[in-house]
C-alpha cells in the first residue's frame, strides 16, 4: 500500500508543477506560423507536407512540422502543440480515417484556426466530422461538383443519375450521390485511354499492342476533360496549372476559388521509345480489357471504390472501338490491391494476366509505385488517377498520370493558406 501512496503523491506533484507552469510564456514569433502534421511512413502525407513547408516558408511564413505514428487515434496533443505555438493555420494532409479523429479533437479543444489538407479530404467522411465545427475545413481537389463550365455540368448530372439508378453503385459511393473528385478523375482517365486506344488503332490496326497504346498516350490530348485539358509532359504527368479549393460547410463542399499557379511544362511532342514487346490485341474474342488497379478494401477502400465508379460510368457511356471495321467490346477488370504495398505486385500481375492493354489507377501513391515495375515489365501503360507523389511517374516510362502532383498541391495550398491567413 505504501508504494501506491508514494506513486499517487508523485502524480500530485507533477500536477502542481504543471499548474504553476506560466501560461503566458508562449514565444510570440513575428512571422505567420503554420503547423503541419503528417503521418510517419506515409509517402503521400509526407510528400505533401514537405512541399507545403518549402512553399510556405518561401512566402515568408514559419512552419512547425511534426509526424505521428500510424494507427494513432488521439490527436489532442498535436492540436494543443499548434495552439501553444499560436499557429494561424494547420495543414494536415492525411487519410480520412485520421482526419475524422483529428477534426473531432480540434473541435473538442476549441480551435479557431482553419484546417487544410490535400485531395484526400474531399469525401463524405470529412463532411460528417466537420459538422458543427466553428473553424473552417478546406481541401484542394481536382474538380468541383457545381462547376458550371461545359462537360463538368454534364458529367455531374449524368453520374448522379447513374448512381441513383443502381443502388449497389450508390452504396459503393458511401450511400449518397455526392460526386467525389476521384470519380471525375477516373472518368477522365478512362476517356484518355480510349483516345489513345483509338489513335493506336489508326496507326497499327488490329496488329496493335499495348506498346502502341503507350505511344499514343504520350501525345494524346483530351480537350473537353471534366478536370480541364489533359496533356502529358516529358515525365508523363498531366500539365496542370490550377486546383479547386473547397470548404466543408454543414454537410456539403462549397466551392471557394480556383487557385492558379504558373506551370511552364510543355506537352510531349514525340512518343517515348519502348523496348518491351507488349500485349497483343485480343482479336480472337474481339475484346479490349482495361485493367482497373484500385484498393477496394483496406484503409483507402472508400476512395478506391469511388475511383472505380468514375471509370465504370465512363465505360457505360463508351465501350465499343471499331478496329479495321471490326467492333471490339471494351471490358473492365477490377483488381483489388487492398491499400497494401505488399499486395501490389500480385494485384498488378492479375491485370497483366488478363491481357489488358492499359491499366488505370491506383488511389494511393505507395501502391502505384509498388506496381510500376510489374506494368513496365509486361509493356503495359498505366494511367495514375489520383496518386500525386512524384515517384509514381519518375523513372517509370510506362506510368502516366491525369491528376496534379504533390509539389503542385503543396504549393497551391501554401499560397492559398498564405492568402487567407497572412493578409
Amino acid at each position: 500500500m505504501k508504494k501506491i501512496l508514494a506513486i499517487l503523491l508523485a502524480l500530485a506533484m507533477v500536477f502542481a508543477l504543471a499548474a504553476c507552469g506560466d501560461a503566458s510564456a508562449e514565444k510570440k514569433s513575428d512571422k505567420v506560423v503554420a503547423y503541419v502534421l503528417a503521418e510517419k511512413g506515409d509517402t503521400y502525407s509526407l510528400g505533401l507536407a514537405n512541399n507545403f513547408k518549402t512553399a510556405f516558408e518561401a512566402l515568408g511564413g514559419e512552419v512547425i512540422m511534426e509526424t505521428f505514428p500510424a494507427n494513432t487515434t488521439n490527436f489532442s496533443d498535436y492540436v494543443q502543440k499548434a495552439m501553444d505555438n499560436s499557429a494561424a493555420v494547420m495543414f494536415a494532409p492525411n487519410s480520412t480515417t485520421v482526419a475524422s479523429n483529428l477534426i473531432k479533437n480540434a473541435q473538442d479543444l476549441g480551435v479557431e484556426f482553419p484546417l487544410m489538407a490535400g485531395d484526400t479530404w474531399e469525401s463524405s467522411v470529412i463532411l460528417d466530422a466537420a459538422k458543427g465545427c466553428d473553424f473552417d475545413v478546406y481541401c484542394s481537389t481536382f474538380f468541383d461538383e457545381n462547376d458550371e463550365s461545359g462537360t463538368a455540368k454534364e458529367f455531374v448530372t449524368g453520374f448522379k443519375a447513374w448512381l441513383n439508378a443502381n443502388s449497389d453503385k450508390k452504396d459503393m459511393n458511401g450511400g449518397n450521390d455526392i460526386v467525389a473528385a476521384v470519380s471525375a478523375l477516373g472518368f477522365d482517365a478512362y476517356n484518355v485511354a480510349m483516345v489513345a486506344i483509338r489513335a493506336a488503332a489508326e496507326t497499327a490496326g488490329s496488329a496493335m499492342t499495348s506498346i502502341d497504346v503507350a505511344k499514343a498516350i504520350c501525345t494524346a490530348k483530351l480537350e473537353n476533360a471534366v478536370t480541364g485539358v489533359i496533356q502529358f509532359n516529358e515525365t508523363g504527368d498531366a500539365i496542370k496549372d490550377s486546383a479547386y479549393i473547397k470548404k466543408a460547410a454543414d454537410g456539403a463542399f462549397q466551392f471557394v476559388k480556383v487557385q492558379k499557379t504558373a506551370n511552364s511544362d510543355s506537352p510531349m511532342s514525340t512518343a517515348k521509345e519502348y523496348a518491351e514487346a507488349g500485349i497483343a490485341l485480343d482479336t480472337a474474342n474481339k475484346k479490349i480489357v482495361i485493367g482497373v488497379y484500385e484498393p477496394t478494401s483496406g484503409a483507402n477502400g472508400a476512395g478506391g471504390k469511388q475511383e472505380v465508379l468514375g471509370v465504370e460510368y465512363a465505360n457505360s457511356l463508351d465501350h465499343v472501338v471499331t478496329i479495321d471495321g471490326v467492333d471490339y467490346e471494351v471490358v473492365l477488370y477490377v483488381s483489388d490491391n487492398g491499400s497494401l504495398e505488399e499486395n501490389a505486385v500480385t494485384a498488378a500481375s492479375a491485370i497483366v494476366n488478363q491481357g489488358a492493354l492499359v491499366a488505370l489507377g491506383s488511389y494511393g501513391s505507395g501502391v502505384s509505385i509498388a506496381a510500376a515495375d510489374t506494368f513496365s515489365a509486361a509493356g503495359m501503360p498505366a494511367i495514375g488517377i489520383s496518386c500525386t507523389n512524384t515517384a509514381v511517374t519518375e523513372g517509370h516510362d510506362y506510368y502516366f498520370r491525369t491528376c496534379f502532383l504533390d509539389p503542385f498541391q503543396g504549393g497551391v495550398m501554401a499560397s492559398f493558406a498564405w492568402e487567407t491567413v497572412a493578409k
Partner: protein
Amino acid sequence: MNIMPYVIRGLATGGQFALVAIGYTMVYGILKLINFAHGDMFMVSGIMLIYMAGSTGAMPIFASIIIMVILTVILGYLIEKCAYAPLRTAPRMSSMISAIGVSYLLQNLVSYITGGLSKQYPEIPGLSTSVRFLGVKDKLSVFVSPVVAIVLMVVLVLVINHTKFGMSMRAVSKDFETSQLMGIKINRVISITFAIGAFLAAVGSLLYFSKNTGINHLAGSTPGIKAFIAAVVGGIGSIPGAVVGALIIGLVESLAKAFGLADFSDVISFALLIIILVFKPTGIFGEKVIDKV
C-alpha cells in the same frame, strides 16, 4: 510552456489504458498467459455500440451501452472457453499462438463487417460534452478517465483482498495445482476473471472512444499493446501496478509530444518496455519469483 494540458491528457489516456491493463494483469496473474485478444475485445465493444446506437443503429443510447457491456462480458467469457480452456494443459507456446489467433480473428472479422472503413462513435450524453477545467478545454471523458480508473482499481483491490472469491483468485494465481486440490473450482475462477477483464475493457472503451470517435478494425491494437506495456511496467500480476503503469505511460507519451519528440512517441513506449523488462522484470509492484530446480 504550459504543460498542464499535456499532463491532463496524458493522465486521461493513461486512465483509459489502465482499465485495459488491469484485464491483462489479472489474466496473466491467473493463467500466466498474455491475452493478445484483450485489446481487440476493447475495439469490438466500441464497434458494437456503433452498430447499436451509432449512425447505423437506432437504439436509445443508455440501453445500448448496457447491452454492449453485457455482450463484451459474454465475448470475454466465450474467448476463454473456446480459445484458452482446451489448451490449459498444452505447452505455453500453443496458448500464446491461440491468443494471437483470436486477436487476428477479431480484427479480420470486424474489417470484413465494416469493410475496413472507420465509423463514428455515437455521442455519449455525459462524456461527449466538452467542458473547461483547470484552463484546459476538452471532452468530459478526458477528465473523468483517470478518476474512474483509480476508483475501479480501489474497488477491485478491495474485492481481491477482502472477499472469499478474491482469496480464491489469489490462491489460483499463486499455485494452480494446489488450489485445485483445495477444492477451488478453477474454471469458474478463470471465467470470472475474464468476465471482470471484459467488463473493465467495456468501460475503458466507453471512455476512450467517446474521446477518439473514429474506430476501425485496427483501433484496438495500439491501446492493447500500450496497456500491456503498462501492465509490465507496473509489475505484471499487480492491479495497482497496472493502473500506475498506465498513468506513467500516458504521461510519458504526452510529455514527449509536448517537448517536441513527437516523431519518437511510439518508439519511446517500446523502448521503455524493453528497459523495464531487462532491469526490473518484476516491474514497480511485482514480487520476485524464484523458480526452484
